[in-house]
Amino acid sequence: MTSRVTDASAPLAVRLYGAMLRLLPRDFRQGYGAEAGDAFNDMYREARHRGVFAGLRLLAWAAGHLVFCAARERWQDRGEAARRSSAVPLGNRPPRRFREPFGMFTTLLQDLKYAARSSAKKPTFALSAILIVAVGIGATTTIFSVVDAVLLRSLPYPDPGRVILFTEGAHSFPDYNEWAVRLDAFSAIAGVWDERVDVTGDGPPEQVAAARVTTDFFSIFGATPYLGRFFAPEEFAGDPIVALLGHGIWQRRWGADPTLVGKTVTIDGQALVIAGIVGPEFQPPEALAGTHVDVWLPLDTNNPEWRDSMGFHVMSVAGRLADGASIDVAQEQIDAFTAARADEYPNRYLRSDGALRTVPLVPLREATVQEVAETLYLLLGAVGFMLLIACANVANLFLARGTERARRSPCAAPSAPAAAASSGRCSPKALPSQLSAASAASPSPTSA
């Protein structure tokens, strides 16, 4: 996925919106996330001409809509999933847990019933407790899921600090070919051209995400084939005759059939031999190919159709630094190359103000996380405090109700005659109502 939102030089607001796109369900994000980011970038560029406040207003407006849109999409997805699961015949359903109440569960069940009855009697109390906790938990989990995805998980590649992204969007084939030869600060560089292709035969036709990759792509990210093999060097010349499949589509469309390797599959009308399957653990960097690719194709950077097209910018490029080389050396090399090119083609390699159109090199992790890190941690802290305040509020509510209940409950006054329940049952009585308020307010783990 080549998008302005993953570009380190894009304005902060655009990258912030890009980070927020992660709120959208995965499918939606993969289909339209990059495009939505690009559209926002265009809108933001125009708004900024009207001033800083117009830009901020746009960000707040679009972000607000994004949150609601994400919520509606996720709700819709859950609805569809529920409809699908209810279509499973009864005999095949997994057994429901705790169908037979026994032992302590019987007691717990009684207490929960009690909690439900008393909540129903005082719906305002229950509702306000649920709402307060819901807001706190909702805000914290939302921000935490963003922080977790964006900041906490380290990139799943060997020695990820040496993988460098060539920023400034997509690059042309002539540039790539020259870089591959000249930049010796890199042990390897790889380009990706992401596209969508049609897969036909063996089921209904479908359009899936594809990535055309150059020779060193898989070695840079230390990927190994799950089945079969990756592309052989000679398969990169000319039109593709082989393809690799992602683990997802292989399972979904071919039922994880191991004999598929070596057979042909029709991709964009061409019968291509499946050389291998890419494992589920390999996730390409989002800045290069999007995190989800179903079909991998070899990319011939010397194809006469585009070998010399300097204006055809379609390739996202990344490289792995050679042993002993630093990113500064690499940057010097690429700047020297750009400066040499600028003498020959000033209107391609110089900006309108005469400055050199450099290609800033950014470590992949930095390009992925960018400057949203600080903002995100700040937000996480803020919502953490909000949850704390929410908990304090709910504790106050229960305290107030507890004082009222103390007058009625025999347990609270040990001198009261004939306590109906053992002393062990007193605290559980209050506990389920607090627990049920909390669980009603918290999202299910799958929605986080």
Partner: protein, 118 residues
């Protein structure tokens, strides 16, 4: 598919479809055209735009075209969308429905028009 089954269209879908009748557009192009067609009354945010696009593609009203450089977006490559033949039928039906409603309103002198001057 029966175009009648898609009627009435929701106003936002109508504007998106209508914006694609004259030519293919990319996402931001749709946003600008919808804003112009609605005299600035309807602004689409990117998330809801693509939510609508996803649904319209699913219903066969629009289709994804190729990716190509967009002159109004620094020549970056953008995906273009086009209205399908079915989508064109639906948008025409919806326009006719709206026109009928407008005629009825004119007949009641709610809005000025040829009917009220008669």
């Amino acid at each position: 598919m029966n175009p009648e089954s898609q009627i009435p269209l929701n106003p936002r879908d109508y504007l998106i479809l209508f914006s694609l009748v004259s030519e293919e557009r990319h996402g931001y192009g749709i946003v600008k055209q919808v804003e112009a067609d609605s005299l600035g009354q309807v602004s689409l945010d990117p998330a809801n735009l693509y939510r609508a696009v996803k649904r319209l593609i699913r219903d066969g009203l629009i289709a994804e075209g190729g990716k190509r450089a967009a002159p109004d977006a620094e020549d970056q490559r953008r995906r273009y969308y086009a209205v399908t033949a079915f989508g064109r039928e639906v948008v025409a039906l919806e326009a006719a429905r709206l026109a009928t409603l407008a005629d009825a309103a004119r007949a009641e002198n709610l809005i000025p028009g040829p009917e009220s001057r008669r």
